[in-house]
Every structure is written in structure tokens, then in C-alpha cells.
Amino acid sequence: MRVYDHPILGKLPDRKEITILVDGKKIKAYEDETIATAILASGIKTLRYTSEKHEPRGIFCAIGQCTDCVMEVNGQPNVRTCITPVEENMVIATQQGLGTWRKVSSKKK
């Protein structure tokens, strides 16, 4: 939920609205905000699932220190969404485990 009106900070300043794709779904975002912000504002709380137990993880530190919020961004896994800004038409995917790497093939044993 966005805080449009804040008793100390006042009204949300006008910013350019852009669209990002999260797991194929279009989501509204504002220019210059972080990916995690836009996703949380849209109501999504799970950003990835762990590799062994497939447990959900979300935002934990929000300052780029804990790496709990990593997602696949434009095909690149392990992107810290709490400090990475959105871009128009950015393709974002919930990261499953260690993610899918474009250049590293992942043939199973």
C-alpha cells in the first residue's frame, strides 16, 4: 500500500509512471524507485523461493545487505531488488532456487 499522504513528508511527489513485468504480469511502477518497492506496492510479498526447501522469502533488510530479496531481472539471477531501480518494461521473475542463468547451461547429472 502506497502512502500517498504522509503527516510529516506530505504528498507523494509526482513521478513518471512506468510498467514492469513480474512473472509475466504488468505492474505499475514509478521511475527511480526500487524493484522491491514497486513489487511490494502491488501486494506481492514473496520474491523468491529457496533452493533446497523451496521456502518463500521476501524483503528483509531493504538496504542491500542481506540478499534475501534477490530475483531474476532481465534474465540475470541474484539481483538485489531492494537497491536496484526499475526501468520501463523490465522483465522480472520470482527466483526459484539458484535461478536460471542465460549463459551457464544447467544439465542435470
Binding site: 518497492t37 511490494l40 538496504i63 537497491i83 531501480p85
Partner: protein, 362 residues
């Protein structure tokens, strides 16, 4: 790449160190991995306390802007989006901005990398929407998104108290604040503020479990006896959609460890702290520390420590006359001393003195 002084971390300590050195004519580069400078100042929307010279009554967010203006005015070079990935022998830094990787050679370094919040583990603690309090604070004050509507806060230090207040301010309902100790550990002024709002502060209470399908939906809290054991039968389930963990901070000292600085375990200040002298110089000549990385305190003392380090680096660069430096150092130390007085200050003063004493024993 070369520079006279490199400051790592553009929070309150780092900015003050840069400004102070740049004022004296030192060639300063300040590096921060974030997109914007200011560190955690921009989520501090409350007014600071203390004396006028500590910018009391000014909100953190405004202090941040003042420091940025000063840094610009005195010609500090600011490298943002830049990670310092290594602090190597002979004061060489490995830096990278995502496009290029470089080695930065420098003559003095101020490490002002700040702190991160400590986690607390209990069954279910990894569920989404269980986050450290500062994360919720960043989301609501900086990013303007309220992460939850029904909130439990764990820990009654200043961070827990302030975040409880600020989440309410933004429209959330704070169900309660639990504190394992028998009394509130943060400043009374903050505690009274949230009590006046009707937020219950449950001392001798802890969180025992969190549940939820895809994010936290319920928590169990319980009362503790005087030996910190859960009193059977005191468990209560509460519906929440956000849990904020505020159980303290730890220095982000990775670069200090990598540089090979000498440390000492000082639990009052957050854990292993790099030893330093009166003017913040560490066990490696030319490397200074300032702010939370040199022991967890708050923004006001971080700024003063930053100034001290900045003056000391100017002296080492031969950029300031001894007399002036001595006067500046004395004034800064006096301000620092007054920040470390009283119930909430004495223990920090003593711990800081211990660091300096241990440094001289090396």
C-alpha cells in the same frame, strides 16, 4: 586512479569526514554502493535530540541534505553506485561500478561503512514480511510503501520505538511491541510517545513462533520469567501481517577485517570493533574508522567521529596547521563527550574509552 583521501560510505560519518578534509584542501573521493548518498539519514524523519550544535530539532532527512550541499560546496568527489570490493595491502582499493573494475590508490582511508541490523531467529522467522525494523522504516519513509497493516515490533531499543511510531504515523496499526528485558531499553522520550498512542509495550515478552502460508499471518508471543524462560501457558496467538525485528545492530566491518585491522569484542557497541586511537586512526597507519563501524551509536556521534577522522587525515596530509587542527579536534571531542553522557551515554563513553585503551596496548 589516485586520490589523497578515500572515504568509504556516504552516510553521516563519511560525509562529515569528507567535508572536514575537503575544507582543509585535501583531495577527497567518497564512495558509496547506493544510488544516493546519505546512508540511513534519509529514513530518519524524526527530529534529533540533544544540543543545538548537534543539530537538535532538525530531522535526519534535512541533515542529509545539508551535508550533501556542503560536500558539493567543498569539492568532494562523489562516486555512487560504486562497490568497494576489497581493501588491499598498501592502501589500494578494488572498486567497481558494474561497468568497470578499477584499482584506486590512496594515501588515507576513512572506513565509514555503517551497520546492519541483527536478525533474530525463531520458528518461521524467514517468512516474507518478517523484516528488520529499519527495512520497514526504509519502505515507509523513503519508498513510501507501507509493508503491513497489523504490526508486531520485537525489541524496545530506539529503533523499535521509533519505527513503531513511524509506522503508526503512516497509517499502520501497531498491535504491540515485545521486549525480552523487564524494562524498555530505548530512550524514555521515544517510549512515552508510543505509549501515549496506546501501543502496548510488553516487557518480559518474546516472540516464539510465526506462521503463515506465503507470508506471516500469525505470531505467538509469550511471557518470560526472570531467567528468560518461557512461562508455560502464557503463549498467545496474535494475527499480524508484518513483524519488525529491532534487536540491535552490528558493524559492517568486512573491509576492516580484510585490511587486517586489529579488533576487540565490545558487546556494548555491537560486537567486534576495530581498535582505534583518540583521532579514529586504526592499527594500520592511514586507515581511519568513523560512525557505526567503529561501534554502534547514533547519527549525531557518527558525524562527530567523521569530523575527527577528517581532521586527522588532513593533518596526515599536511593540509592543516597543527594549532588549528588541535583546536578543531578539541572542540569535536567536547561535542562527542556531551553526546555520551547520562543513562544512555555513559556506557558508550566507557566502551569507547576501552577501545582507545586497548589500541594503545597493542
Amino acid at each position: 586512479m589516485k586520490t589523497e583521501l578515500t572515504v568509504i560510505g556516504a552516510g553521516p560519518a563519511g560525509l562529515c569526514a569528507s567535508i572536514e578534509a575537503a575544507k582543509n584542501g585535501v583531495d577527497v573521493t567518497i564512495i558509496d554502493e547506493n544510488r544516493k548518498p546519505g546512508g540511513q539519514l534519509f529514513k530518519q524523519i524524526h527530529r534529533f535530540f540533544g544540543e543545538k550544535e548537534h543539530l537538535a530539532g532538525v530531522r535526519g532527512i534535512e541533515i542529509g541534505n545539508m551535508l550533501l550541499e556542503d560536500a558539493q560546496k567543498y569539492g568532494v568527489k562523489v562516486l555512487l553506485n560504486t562497490i568497494v570490493w576489497g581493501l588491499f595491502p598498501d592502501l589500494k582499493l578494488g572498486i567497481s561500478n558494474g561497468n568497470s573494475v578499477n584499482i584506486l590508490e590512496t594515501q588515507n582511508i576513512v572506513i565509514a561503512t555503517g551497520a546492519a541490523e541483527k536478525p533474530l531467529s525463531f520458528p518461521g522467522w524467514t517468512l516474507p514480511n518478517i523484516m528488520v525494523a529499519g527495512a520497514a522504516q526504509t519502505m515507509v519513509n523513503v519508498n513510501r510503501v507501507l509493508p503491513g497493516n497489523r504490526v508486531l515490533i520485537v525489541g524496545s531499543g530506539n529503533v523499535g520505538l521509533i519505527v513503531a511510531y513511524q509506522l503508526s504515523q503512516a497509517g499502520a496499526e501497531v498491535i504491540a511491541l515485545v521486549e525480552a528485558l523487564p524494562k524498555v531499553s530505548g530512550w524514555q522520550v521515544h517510549a512515552l510517545k508510543i505509549m501515549r498512542m496506546g501501543i502496548p509495550v510488553l516487557t518480559s515478552h518474546t516472540i516464539t513462533e510465526a506462521e503463515g502460508k506465503s507470508y506471516v499471518e500469525r505470531v505467538e508471543i509469550a511471557k518470560l520469567d526472570e531467567n528468560n524462560r518461557i512461562i508455560e501457558g502464557s503463549e498467545t496467538k496474535v494475527n499480524v501481517d508484518l513483524v519488525c525485528i529491532a534487536v540491535g545492530l552490528r558493524p559492517l566491518a568486512e573491509l576492516c577485517w580484510m585490511a587486517g585491522l586489529r579488533f576487540e569484542y565490545i558487546p556494548e557497541l555491537g560486537g567486534f570493533i576495530p581498535l582505534h586511537d583518540e583521532n579514529m586512526e586504526t592499527s594500520i597507519k592511514g586507515i581511519y574508522v568513523a560512525g557505526d563501524v567503529a561501534g554502534i551509536e547514533e547519527a549525531s556521534s557518527a558525524m562527530e567521529e567523521g569530523k575527527l577522522a577528517g581532521i586527522a587525515a588532513s593533518v596526515s596530509q599536511g593540509k592543516t596547521d597543527k594549532k588549528k587542527a588541535e583546536r578543531d579536534i578539541l572542540e569535536t571531542k567536547e561535542r562527542l563527550r556531551s553526546l555520551r553522557l547520562g543513562t544512555y551515554g555513559d556506557y558508550r563513553y566507557n566502551a569507547k574509552e576501552k577501545i582507545i585503551r586497548k589500541f594503545h596496548e597493542l
